[in-house]
């Protein structure tokens, strides 16, 4: 408990009372967002996302595996995040802590529950062989708002990804020997092809402090925030996922206002995503 966090808090409190933020942004304004897809050659898909100084790299790897018994004809997604000590003086090496797990699970649900990936099209042999998609999210530079940066990086990497038919052809040929049915899949997919994706929801994160609610919190804003909420909305403005965090509370009206602001920001971010990945 040094004195400085208190001074920082007082400063940010006073600013929001005047309708201002430390970096000059409007309450409902994001920092600059850049998306660079395809930066990792070993990955099936990848993207670096910067929101202000926050920097996240997501990579997609794919492998052939067995389906879950209860979804025999569906591909499988696995999402992991790493808050590596590279990115912040406060991150430590070791197994994922609750913060990391929450991040990975929120990103995962944003993709899984809104069915961004058509998992039904990632089946090679029904009941026997399917594609597993590994989404790995590396936090490189942590300056606030990981939820949005991580979600966006994961989406951009997915749109950048190609199913690695060519690279895994030896294994696919082996599978064909064992399961002649695989011939159909291989005839349909003679070479690498993009993942079957739908128009994705976009996550927007807000924090509340001193009765103000601001979007895309910087690290300083996040440090003093009382409550946090992430809302993912789709192109129609429907809600596809929400997650409230931290120790404070929201009123019902605050949440409704936040949803509306999410739709507006989400629409802008969706444009940036589409331009960057060229769809």
């Amino acid at each position: 408990m040094t004195i400085s966090p208190v001074i920082k808090q007082e400063h940010l409190y006073k600013l929001v009372e005047q309708g201002k933020r430390a970096d000059g942004r409007q309450f409902n304004q994001y920092r600059p967002i850049t998306i660079e897809p395809g930066i990792i050659s070993k990955a099936e898909g990848s993207a670096r996302v910067r929101i202000g100084n926050t920097q996240v790299i997501a990579g997609i790897k794919m492998s052939i595996g067995d389906p879950y018994p209860d979804t025999p004809d569906s591909g499988v997604i696995t999402t992991a995040a790493e808050l590596i000590p590279l990115a912040s003086p406060d991150f430590e090496a070791g197994p994922p802590d609750q913060q990391t797990i929450e991040l990975a699970r929120v990103v995962d649900r944003g993709i899984r529950e809104s069915e961004v990936i058509d998992l039904g099209k990632l089946c090679i042999i029904p009941g026997e062989k399917i594609w597993i998609i590994f989404i790995d999210i590396h936090i490189i530079d942590y300056d606030g708002n990981l939820f949005d940066a991580a979600s966006l990086a994961a989406l951009a990497a997915l749109f950048n990804a190609k199913v690695p038919i060519t690279q895994l052809m030896p294994m696919l040929e082996k599978i064909k020997e064992q399961y002649p049915d695989a011939a159909g899949y291989l005839q349909e997919h003679p070479e690498d092809y993009p993942l079957p994706l739908r128009d994705p929801p976009i996550s927007c994160t807000f924090v509340k402090f001193n009765n103000a609610i601001v979007v895309d919190p910087s690290i300083d804003e996040q440090d003093i925030a009382e409550a946090r909420i992430t809302v993912a909305t789709d192109p129609k403005g429907d809600i596809r996922a929400m997650q409230k965090g931290l120790k404070g509370s929201f009123t019902a009206d605050e949440i409704k206002k936040i949803i509306k602001d999410s739709v507006i920001n989400g629409s802008d971010i969706r444009k940036i995503l589409k331009e960057s990945v060229g769809t």
């Binding site: 994922p96 913060q99 929450e102 403005g237 429907d238 809600i239 996922a241 409230k244 509370s249 009123t251």
Partner: protein, 253 residues
């Protein structure tokens, strides 16, 4: 997990006979454990949970202490035998996420300033699981905290609303019913789930998660239903605490 299973009929009757804004049966008993400082046993439909509170006591290890206030550590755990396929003992990623959001929700309610350097440990044990265990656990935790005499702004309470109905295979929305407190089949095959926890006196929302697909209007409706559910359950919490208090008085007499 979408399906064509019909979860609600034309009269708004659900699979288990409930109406859209009706809760499952809830039974709450406070003070069920001998060793814990406060405890609660709660049945909610097919769910059975126990919550136990220890503290305020010195937080250990020392570096976890906050010199200005108590920390509230909730631990949500499922018994290996509480689910269809045996769960491996120990925390999985889902349990850890629920522990985190539950801890955060409770910390808002407890008057932590009164106990610098202390820990208040809230243990939530799911014995039988059937949709909605995080709401059942948090609701039981609220009663156990009160039973332990922990000073709080309010007694926290949780409930979910959701949407059931049809959705096309391509994920496009085509109607659906917003209902209170999803049951098991509804949870597996429904289109959205919105668990919340509130401080019932102010309606402040201290926990909120949402999966699925809701229009803005549906969200408003679901949030409203869930809040009304919370208020109803809040009454059951207070009745349980009153019964507990009365039985204590009787014993003393």
């Amino acid at each position: 997990m979408k399906s064509d299973k019909k979860l609600i009929d034309e009269n708004g009757k659900r699979l288990d006979g409930r109406g859209p804004d009706q809760l499952r049966n809830i039974k709450i008993e406070a003070g069920v454990l001998h060793r814990a400082d406060g405890s609660c046993y709660l049945e909610w439909g097919g769910n059975k949970v126990i919550a136990a509170v220890y503290g305020p006591r010195e937080a250990i290890p020392k570096h976890t202490q906050n010199p200005l206030k108590a920390i509230v550590k909730a631990r949500y755990n499922m018994a290996a035998f509480s689910v269809d396929d045996r769960k491996r003992p120990g925390p999985d990623r889902r349990s850890q996420e629920i522990s985190k959001v539950t801890s955060e929700a409770l910390e808002k309610i407890v008057l932590t300033d009164q106990f610098p350097r202390a820990a208040i440990d809230v243990n939530i044990e799911v014995l039988d699981a059937e949709a909605g265990t995080r709401c059942a656990g948090l609701t039981a935790a609220g009663v156990a905290l009160a039973d332990a005499g922990i000073p709080m702004r309010d007694i926290p309470v949780a409930c979910a609303a959701g949407k059931i109905g049809a959705e096309n295979n391509d994920g496009m929305f085509s109607g659906g019913f917003v209902v209170l407190d999803l049951g098991k089949e509804e949870d597996n095959f429904g289109n959205a789930d919105l668990p919340i926890a509130i401080a019932p006196r102010t309606n402040d929302i201290i926990l909120l998660q949402m999966d699925g697909h809701l229009t803005f209007d549906e969200f408003e409706h679901a949030l409203d239903l869930a809040m009304k559910g919370c208020q109803e359950i809040s009454k059951l919490q207070k009745e349980a605490l009153l019964r507990r208090y009365k039985s204590d008085v009787e014993v003393e007499e």
